[in-house]
């Protein structure tokens, strides 16, 4: 019981980036525990996924050829059977939307303690130490799980992708899927957030967050976008509130953007948002809270009240600030 089993993430024919990061996280644990690194890939084109997963350090890859797309009932059954067969000390899964949909059920069924959204893992003397954030990234905590076997999900982008070419043994794992226990049926997929504007094309984005406080105040940033020729985008709460359309949303569940300049106004910089804009050429942040995580990735910072700074900026470019 020193082995590690990581579970690959894929969607609509593509292995998702976090799959290779899982191999890195799992490889570190396998080294620390002195065990083997196993990877499981369930549904879809498992043979081609297995080839992509065969990186340095991977000992065995288990393919479950059942169905095309993710179904949590199939995943739970397959992983329960794999865990019974391999008895891995660690099961490591992604904290992706699909991970959220099966990992807690797998851990519950296997009666393993579960810790989600790890940003760091450390294993020594039988204790797994998980580093995770709380209170919207304001603090980090370490959570110890004293006794295995363990189940943990990792945050995307925190581990480097596994590299090199491995010589893993690829084997098909037969799961006798109980179809009666598959009680949800995926009917299809839909791309959302089309429409009049594509924020991922913009050179200059003025992006607005919770700090704008009220819908009426949007006029202020609309004016700024107008006088500077910028395109308006936003963080999630603005779209959740229905103040801007979904196609304006930057972040994990919205668009990935890489403009020359990203001007974040009243955006704290939650990890889901940062995932969608960190690759911008230049990031400028305006926020009242000097400790806001957005400043950690900003090139330029303005600690101040947007209701003072934005009107002054509009005037700088010869505009007349609206009274809000």
């Amino acid at each position: 019981m020193t082995d590690v089993l990581v579970v690959a993430d894929h969607r609509r024919g593509d292995l998702r980036d976090v799959s290779l990061e899982l191999l890195s996280a799992g490889g570190d644990l396998a080294d620390a525990a002195g065990g083997d690194l196993h990877a499981a890939v369930i549904s879809g084109n498992v043979e081609s996924f297995a080839e992509d997963l065969d990186r340095e350090g991977v000992d065995q890859i288990h393919t479950v050829a059942y169905g095309e797309e993710f179904n949590h009932d199939v995943y739970v059954q397959a992983l329960t059977a794999l865990a019974a067969d391999l008895a891995p000390e660690f099961i490591v899964v992604p904290n992706s939307v699909n991970g959220l949909d099966y990992a807690p059920a797998v851990a519950t069924r296997l009666d393993r303690p579960y810790v989600s959204d790890a940003v760091d893992l450390d294993y020594s003397e039988g204790t797994l130490e998980v580093t995770r954030e709380m209170y919207g990234s304001k603090v980090e905590t370490t959570v110890d799980v004293a006794e295995g076997p363990f189940a943990v999900s990792i945050r995307g982008g925190e581990w480097p992708p596994a590299e090199g070419i491995g010589d893993a043994e690829v084997s098909e794992f037969d799961v006798d899927v109980d179809e009666d226990a598959v009680r949800s049926n995926v009917k299809g997929f839909e791309e959302v957030g089309g429409g009049d504007v594509d924020i991922s094309d913009a050179e200059f984005l003025v992006s607005i967050g919770r700090g704008i406080e009220e819908e009426e105040n949007l006029e202020l940033v609309e004016k700024l976008a107008d006088v500077t020729g910028a395109t308006l985008s936003s963080s999630r709460p603005i779209v959740d509130n229905g103040w801007l359309a979904k196609n304006r949303q930057v972040g994990q569940s919205g668009k990935q953007v890489t403009p020359d300049v990203y001007l974040a106004i009243g955006i704290s910089g939650a990890v889901q948002h940062v995932a969608g804009m960190k690759a911008s050429e230049t990031i400028i942040a305006v926020n009242t809270d000097p400790n806001a995580p957005i400043f950690d990735i900003a090139d330029y910072g303005v600690v101040g009240d947007l209701f003072d700074v934005v009107p002054a900026l509009i005037e700088e470019f010869g505009g007349e600030p609206p009274s809000v």
């Binding site: 009932d73 839909e190 200059f204 979904k246 700074v309």
Partner: protein
């Protein structure tokens, strides 16, 4: 039809705060209804409004202070509430989803709902596991990160036709058999504000407090496997160049940066 909504009172932290041991000092905390649960409550109330004879029961695990939060769910339209608490829980690390799933599972077994709505995650610990672990504990089907539910179909055909919000602007369309737990994502609806009348009515709606003994759960069943050993402010790696001065000086420097980057002409 009966809908159970799990709600959590969460702590929010002020901009400046201090940590003592493995907790943030109480004076820097404010308490509120978890944002995701606000959407879950609204979805349940909308379902009740769409169908005949739909009962909405809000359930929370929390000390007496959390009654303020669960009364908020009642004020927004839930019919009655259950608060689970016990001296034996007060000492337990409630980060452990297994503990929460067992407690909520006992309530589900007593109430026997058709649907359970649960927020995807909580503002404070962002664990994101309660709903799915609860479903597995009680043998319900489930769907996580639901941002649309066809309420008419639930009422008429007893199937939850949902959209799951995947990464990158993709939605998955899925039919889920009942009974089921749906982990609700923000943005699925527009949560209402409690009306004054609602707040008044909430005061007289039933709120049962259930102990471990009431739920038939043993103290050994709620022991936590997780132990928070440290809490600290993450090291900031900011390499930002700060633009100082009063607002108009800051705006002037910011305008210079924008001109220099060539994204704004004169």
């Amino acid at each position: 039809m009966k809908v159970l909504v799990t709600v959590k009172e969460v702590a929010t932290v002020e901009d400046d705060f201090e940590i003592s041991g493995t907790e943030i000092e109480e004076t820097y905390l404010d308490y509120d209804l978890n944002e995701w649960d606000d959407y879950a409550v609204e979805e349940a109330v909308q379902l009740a409004e769409a169908g005949d004879d739909v009962e909405v029961v809000a359930v929370t695990i929390g000390p007496e202070r959390s009654e303020e939060t669960i009364r908020m769910a009642l004020a927004k339209g839930a019919d009655r509430a259950v608060r689970v608490w016990d001296d034996a829980i007060a000492d337990v690390e409630l980060l452990d989803v297994e503990t929460k799933a067992r407690l909520l599972g006992a309530v589900v077994e007593a109430e026997n709902p058709d649907l359970v709505f649960s927020g995807v995650q909580a503002n404070d610990d962002s664990f994101g596991a309660t709903g799915v672990a609860l479903a597995e504990t009680v043998g319900f089907e489930w769907a996580a990160v639901v941002n649309a539910l066809d309420t008419e179909k639930v009422v008429d055909e007893s199937v939850a036709s949902v959209r799951r919000e995947l990464e990158g602007g993709i939605e998955e369309l899925t039919d889920v058999e009942l009974p089921a737990v749906l982990a609700i994502q923000t943005g699925i609806n527009e949560p209402r504000y409690a009306s004054l009348r609602g707040i008044r009515q909430a005061q007289s709606k039933p709120l049962d407090v259930q102990s471990l003994a009431d739920l038939g759960v043993g103290a050994e069943d709620v022991a936590s496997s997780l132990d928070v050993t440290a809490m600290y402010e993450p090291e900031t790696e900011s390499e930002a160049q700060y633009l100082d001065g009063d607002a108009s000086e800051q705006a002037g420097k910011l305008a210079d940066v924008l001109r220099e980057k060539g994204v704004v002409g004169e």
